[in-house]
């Protein structure tokens, strides 16, 4: 019997706020162990939490972007489990009254957009970090670092809407783009700013009821999500095909060794004993806060991509590449304001992205070096055929290192753009004169000889000629000769 997988995701998004979820400690990554701690995030006796309103605002912002219902009143709850890196042995989270309910995230897979429905978004605090260093000769020991304890997290729970691991990977990538787009998180999976757990079950294809699910933890890269889910689906499929049941369990996936390990089975499932957090009043989101957040919401990436297609004539694929990052889309759009949209798009995608990739830089740093209007100016000249492509690429390279506009750069480097027919015509005639044999061959029907002639003109121009213009000039001149006309001025090439 064929089985299909049903997958739901739980994504933890570390919110980019200045302070932690329930205290004033700095919410930063990479400080010395236990540098950012206080009685509240250490859970010392007598200390009390207070909700960080910036984290609440971030939750509202993401909730609005996802089309969730934002609850005017929600509540915190305590989730109990004993672990050394849990300072209070309970986590403050939201349980039966989350701040955001419903909503969906549009994801484009192979050019097709699909919306994946969400169950909820809720605020919670992170735990500290345990590490278990191994040192030869030592008794085993563990180290605890509480810098992460109390960091603000937003947990996003999807409905069980995925069938394929690849969908989950695409969803996660789209979520990462969105949280960065909205400035609610840095979304760096390597730094744990975006983490993912998955619930997976298999059922006979077409069946309505869900099978027994397992929970897969530690899917902390997009590749890990895809590979881990594939491994778990394969494992469950083997079990089912062998006629055995799938046991309810929590598993860990080790992406390096592509291995699954059972963390705990149903018998050791936790009873979290949730109950309303008595130290925090109801969390209220006033209408004014909601309106402010709505007004401050940027155009969302999928809407912007659609607009790029409609307005600038970009392909859907190019538009979505340019909308991968808000700063990149902004840069492109500023470019397109002064140059033709499609050409601007191809310049940003090929040249700008190449430089970013080579230099591992951010679009922000790049824009500081080459502002969009500066690049746009160059692209506009290319579009007007005033500057040939190869020269434009050279100008672009100079732009990265030097100040000045297109003309200034050309002048500084002693180069004159030879885009215009009047500039190139003497060179064309010169080349035709020098290569009478080739001309004869062309006229005899060997059309490939034209490429040779173009190359000769390019050489004479020291690469500054626009090949397309050269080709047009040559072809026109040769056509005239074939018609028996004397070399001379042709209509259409008037200065």
């Amino acid at each position: 019997m064929a089985h299909e997988a049903v997958i739901g995701l739980e994504c933890h998004i570390q919110l980019r706020t200045r302070s932690k979820m329930f205290c004033g400690c700095p919410a930063e990554f990479g400080a010395a162990p236990d540098a950012n701690v206080c009685p509240v995030c250490l859970g010392l006796p007598g200390a009390l939490p207070r909700a960080n309103h910036a984290a609440v605002a971030a939750a509202v912002r993401l909730g609005l972007a996802l089309g969730c219902e934002i609850r005017g009143e929600s509540a915190f709850a305590r989730k109990h489990y004993f672990y050394p890196d849990s300072p209070k042995n309970y986590q403050i989270t939201q349980y039966d009254r989350p701040i955001c309910v419903g909503g969906s995230l549009p994801v484009e897979i192979a050019g097709v957009e699909r919306r994946y429905e969400l169950e909820r978004l809720h605020l919670e605090e992170d735990s500290g970090k345990s590490s278990h260093p191994v040192r030869a000769g030592d008794r085993p020991f563990s180290l605890l670092d509480f810098n992460r304890a109390g960091m603000p997290l937003l947990e996003l729970v999807t409905e069980p809407v995925f069938r394929e691991p690849a969908e989950c990977a695409a969803f996660l990538a789209a979520l990462r783009r969105l949280v960065r787009w909205l400035d609610v998180s840095d979304g760096d999976m390597e730094k744990g700013q975006l983490r993912c757990d998955a619930n997976v079950s298999l059922r006979p294809a077409g069946a309505a009821a869900l099978g027994v699910k397992t929970e897969l933890k530690n899917l902390n890269s997009i590749r890990g999500v895809e590979k881990g889910l594939a491994a778990e689906i394969a494992r469950q499929r083997r079990l089912l095909e062998a006629g055995g049941p799938v046991g309810q369990a929590t598993l860990l996936y080790d992406v390096e060794h592509d291995r699954l390990a059972v963390l705990r089975s149903k018998e050791d499932a936790h009873d979290y004993r949730y109950f309303p957090e008595p130290d925090l009043p109801e969390l209220r989101v006033e209408d004014s806060v909601l309106e402010e957040a709505r007004a401050g919401l940027p155009e969302l990436p999928w809407a912007r991509a659609a607009r790029f297609v409609a307005r600038y004539g970009l392909s859907a694929c190019d538009a979505s590449v340019l909308c991968e990052q808000r700063e990149l889309a902004d840069y492109y759009e500023a470019c397109a304001a002064v140059a033709e949209g499609r050409l601007a798009g191809s310049w940003v995608m090929t040249e700008v992205l190449r430089v970013l990739h080579e230099r591992a830089g951010s679009i922000g740093d790049f824009a500081a070096r080459v502002p969009a209007v500066r690049l746009g100016g160059l692209v506009a000249r290319v579009a007007a055929k005033e500057i040939p492509g190869p020269l434009a690429k050279q100008v672009f390279a100079w732009m990265l290192e030097e100040e000045g506009g297109v003309d200034e750069l050309l002048a500084r480097h002693g180069v004159r753009a030879m885009g215009a027919a009047t500039d190139l015509r003497p060179l064309v005639l010169e080349v035709l004169g020098e290569h009478e044999g080739a001309v004869a061959q062309y006229l005899a029907g060997r059309s490939r000889t034209l490429d040779f002639l173009v190359g000769q003109v390019m050489k004479k121009s020291r690469g500054q000629a626009a090949p397309q213009v050269v080709q047009e000039l040559l072809a026109a001149e040769l056509t005239r000769r074939a018609a028996g006309e004397a070399p001379g001025r042709a209509p259409g090439f008037a200065p």
């Binding site: 009685p39 010392l44 004993r273 109950f275």
Partner: protein, 491 residues
């Protein structure tokens, strides 16, 4: 004023003497220890942690504020950076917090000096101060009897003269009941009026810092200095706290609710007589007696113990031997470390309540117990609101009995729980309550009565406490034939 008599002074007079230079802050702060402390403390054992050097440092740093040099005993569940804070539990052995509770900070800023950390029932769970890991506190009026609890240490210390004021905590009556047993005034403010930041939590939605004093005016002063919103406590009540400066304004015309039903059942005759006396005194001072039906009854006890133990089981989860306090030294693995540290670190009563609360929150029982109790709690609160539409204050016993003997109720935890029946209503409803002494019972045991007020009714409660204080003094004069003649000052 001779140094030997400073401890007798009300807090207000003592602070005035310090500000006027009549005595130093150190003399004021030490007076209780030098005087009655030397005679009483060994027998009463009101104090869990004290240190004369730390006290001297506190006196040296005390600003000349409204409490300049005034010693205040602070219950051992309020965080102090210069004394251990252990909740009188082995599991917090040696723990000294890196910060002061908000009320402690405000106390110091007003010039107050911590006299010592008051003994208490472990984690404030108890009504007799017998469940302290340091041993029990005894009632200074009869050393064979308990001082009440859980704030028995602070109450006893104020009663015997160690300090004119003390801070306790009241989760189900833990300030009012020991105040009654020790013959002093005990105020439990409206929930949220005194910051809980730095009060080691027992049951967060009930816990409230309370004040002990020998005089209504002293209690009013300390309340005014400590009350008010605290940004560090999200459950603190917003807006300015009630004005208690009119504490000496009398009770003329106030409607005092008199419990017309139920409460006599199981209540000691001496307690009933004390309540009759208080009602008579208040009437003599111009108040009116208005009958009302005492509401909570046994449902309140059940409701309270369900919610309070549930919260306690959660609040006490953090004591695990991992980061501070007692840790079992021999555990072979993590699970053993947790279970052994907690089994050895917590006393029997605390373990009992953790187990009860854990059970009430367990999957499958939560709706039946916790949610039902929360609904009952909301109803109890509405019933109190209804009562306050007809009365300004309610008069009730504090406890059904006079101070009992040490060990008398240790074998029967349920009976100990039921003795909270009159006090825990205020904690369920979040309203303020106060216990004030009346004439001692035959045999000299203190007797107190309880007054409950509506939200922010602290001013009314203190006016009533003052009226009882004045009427009590008058009654003492009337009984005495040895009143000193008021000599003319010029002779």
């Amino acid at each position: 004023m001779s140094g030997g008599e400073l401890w007798r002074l009300p807090a207000r007079s003592l602070a005035e003497a310090v500000r006027a230079g009549t005595c130093t802050a150190l003399e004021a702060a030490s007076a209780g220890w030098d005087g009655p402390g030397a005679r009483w403390e060994r027998d009463v054992h009101a104090i869990a942690h004290s240190d004369s050097e730390v006290r001297a440092a506190g006196a040296g740093a005390a600003p000349p504020g409204p409490l300049a040099g005034v010693p205040v005993v602070v219950k051992d569940n309020l965080c102090t950076r210069d004394y251990p804070t252990t909740c009188c539990s082995r599991i917090l052995a040696g723990y000294q917090p890196p910060y002061d509770a908000t009320v402690v900070r405000r106390l110091r800023e007003a010039g107050g000096v911590i006299s010592g950390k008051g003994n208490m029932d472990e984690f404030a769970m108890g009504s007799s101060t017998e469940y302290s890991c340091y041993g029990p506190t005894r009632n200074p009026h009869d050393l064979a009897r308990v001082p009440g609890g859980s704030s028995g240490g602070p109450a006893a210390a104020v009663a015997y003269g160690l300090a004119p004021l003390a801070l306790g905590s009241d989760t189900g009556g833990s300030v009012r009941q020991p105040a009654a047993f020790c013959g002093v005034i005990g105020l439990k403010p409206t929930y949220g009026r005194l910051s809980r930041y730095g009060l080691v939590a027992f049951a967060s939605s009930f816990d409230q810092v309370g004040i002990f004093g020998r005089h209504a005016g002293d209690v009013a002063l300390l309340y005014a200095l400590l009350a008010g919103p605290d940004p560090l406590d999200a459950t603190s009540r917003p807006g300015p706290p009630p004005d208690v400066s009119g504490w000496d304004g009398g009770v003329e015309g106030l409607r005092i609710g008199w419990p017309a039903n139920l409460w006599r059942e199981g209540v000691d005759a001496e307690v009933v007589a004390g309540l009759e006396e208080a009602a008579a005194w208040l009437e003599r001072a111009g108040a009116r007696r208005v009958p009302f039906d005492f509401l909570p009854g046994e449902y309140a006890v059940a409701t309270y113990y369900l919610v309070a133990t549930a919260e306690a089981s959660s609040n006490l989860a953090r004591f695990d031997g991992m980061r501070y306090g007692y840790r079992d030294p021999e555990s072979p693995d993590l699970h053993a470390l947790y279970t052994r540290s907690r089994s050895a670190g917590f006393g029997a009563e605390v373990q009992r309540r953790i187990l009860l609360g854990t059970y009430a929150l367990s999957a499958g029982y939560y709706d039946e117990y916790y949610l039902t109790a929360q609904r009952a709690r909301a109803r109890i609160r509405r019933e109190y609101e209804a009562a306050f539409s007809r009365c300004d204050l309610l008069l009730l016993p504090v406890a059904p009995t006079l101070p009992f003997r040490l060990g008398e109720k240790l074998q029967d935890p349920l009976e100990m729980y039921l003795s909270d029946i009159f006090t825990l209503g205020a904690n369920l409803a979040g309203i303020p309550g106060l216990s004030a002494p009346v004439t001692p019972a035959a045999g000299g045991l203190p007797r107190g009565v309880q007054l409950l007020g509506p939200d922010d009714g602290e001013g009314l409660l203190l006016r009533a406490a003052r009226a009882l204080e004045v009427q009590g003094a008058r009654a003492r004069l009337e009984r005495s034939h040895e009143v000193e003649f008021a000599w003319p000052t010029k002779r």
